[in-house]
C-alpha cells in the first residue's frame, strides 16, 4: 500500500539528494525504498516502517557517500531537449532576413560577405551567414538540409553527455589490488 506519507518521505529524500545523485539513480533509490516500505508496513505498520527507515538527513548523507564515484550514464532526456531546442532555433533562423538584398543593393555601396559552416557551396554545407562588410551587419542566415540533420544530432550528443556511455575502467589502485596475488 503506497500512501501519501510514504511518497512524501521518498520525495523529501530525493530532494536532499538533488545535485549529488543523478535523476535516474534517484528514481531507482525511490523505487527500492518504496518496495521496502511496502513490505515493512505490511508487517509493522506504516508509521513504524517510516520510523525504522531512519533519519532522512543521515540517510541522505549515507547515500551521497555511497553514490560518490558511481559511473554516470548518458542523459537521454537532456539530449532530446537540446536537439529539439537547436532544431527550433534553426527553423527560426532559416531565411531570416534582417535587411532585404534589394534595399541594400540600391544603396550602391553594397559589399557582401558570406561564410559557410561546412563545405562552401556544396552538399556538405550546414549553415550560411551573409552580410555586408562595411556595415558589419549579419543580413541573412540560411540553414541547409544537412544542417537540419547534423546540428540537432550534435546537440543531442552534447546534451546527453554521450561520452558517459563509453566505459571507463575503475581507479587504478583498485585494479592493482585485484591483480595482486
Amino acid at each position: 500500500m503506497t500512501t501519501t506519507s510514504t511518497e512524501l518521505t521518498l520525495l523529501r529524500l530525493s530532494w536532499k539528494l538533488r545535485g549529488d545523485v543523478e535523476p535516474a539513480r534517484r528514481r531507482e533509490i525511490r523505487r527500492e525504498l518504496r518496495a521496502h516500505l511496502r513490505s515493512s508496513a505490511a508487517e509493522i505498520g506504516q508509521k513504524e516502517a517510516l520510523r525504522r527507515l531512519g533519519d532522512l538527513d543521515d540517510l541522505a548523507r549515507e547515500y551521497r557517500e555511497a553514490e560518490r564515484g558511481r559511473p554516470r550514464g548518458p542523459r537521454i532526456g537532456s539530449g532530446v531537449v537540446s536537439a529539439i531546442a537547436v532544431w527550433v532555433l534553426l527553423i527560426v533562423l532559416d531565411g531570416r532576413t534582417i535587411m532585404s538584398w534589394n534595399d541594400l543593393e540600391s544603396r550602391g555601396d553594397f559589399d557582401p560577405w558570406t561564410w559557410t559552416l561546412g563545405a562552401p557551396n556544396g552538399m556538405a554545407s550546414l549553415l550560411t551567414f551573409s552580410g555586408d562588410v562595411e556595415l558589419g551587419l549579419l543580413l541573412d542566415v540560411q540553414v541547409h538540409r544537412l544542417g537540419y540533420i547534423l546540428l540537432p544530432v550534435l546537440a543531442f550528443l552534447i546534451g546527453a553527455r554521450s561520452w558517459r556511455a563509453i566505459h571507463r575502467p575503475r581507479s587504478f589502485p583498485q585494479r592493482w589490488r585485484r591483480a595482486a596475488p
Binding site: 511496502r38 516502517a49 525504522r52 527507515l53 531512519g54 543521515d58 557517500e65 585485484r178
Partner: protein, 119 residues
C-alpha cells in the same frame, strides 16, 4: 540473540562486511537483507542504512544485482556476490578477526565480563 544497542560508528564500519557475508550465504533482496541483519542481533541498524551500503558495494563491483518478478508487488532487486566481493569478504573477514583477537584480551584480560560472558 544479543539486541543491546551498538556503537553506530562500529556498526557502520562492519555493515559492509556483514552484508557481504549474508549475500555470500545466499542471494537476497533489500528487505530480506534488512530482516537478516536484524536477525543476527543488529537490530539498531536503521532499515534505510542497508540500502546505501548495498549501493556502495554495487558501485565498487563487489555485488551485482538483477530484478526478479515478485508475486506480491513490484520486481525485487536481488544482490549476488561478485568474485571481487568474495575476495573482499575474505580480506575484510580476516582483518576483522585479527582486530578482535588483538582487542579482546585488552578489554577482557580474565576472559570474563561483558565480552566473554552471557549475552
Amino acid at each position: 540473540m544479543q539486541t543491546a544497542s551498538h556503537d553506530s560508528q562500529i556498526l557502520k564500519g562492519v555493515l559492509g562486511l556483514v552484508l557481504l557475508h549474508l549475500i555470500d550465504e545466499r542471494e537476497s533482496y533489500g528487505y530480506e537483507l534488512v530482516e537478516r541483519v536484524h536477525g543476527i542481533g543488529l537490530t539498531d541498524v536503521p532499515d534505510g542504512s542497508i540500502y546505501p551500503a548495498l549501493g556502495r558495494l554495487e558501485r565498487d563491483g563487489h555485488v551485482t544485482s538483477h530484478l526478479v518478478p515478485s508475486p506480491s508487488g513490484p520486481a525485487r532487486k536481488y544482490y549476488r556476490l561478485s568474485p571481487s566481493g568474495r575476495d573482499l569478504l575474505a580480506a575484510r573477514g580476516a582483518a576483522w578477526l585479527r582486530l578482535v583477537d588483538a582487542v579482546t584480551p585488552l578489554l577482557n584480560p580474565n576472559g570474563s565480563g561483558p565480552t566473554g560472558g552471557a549475552p
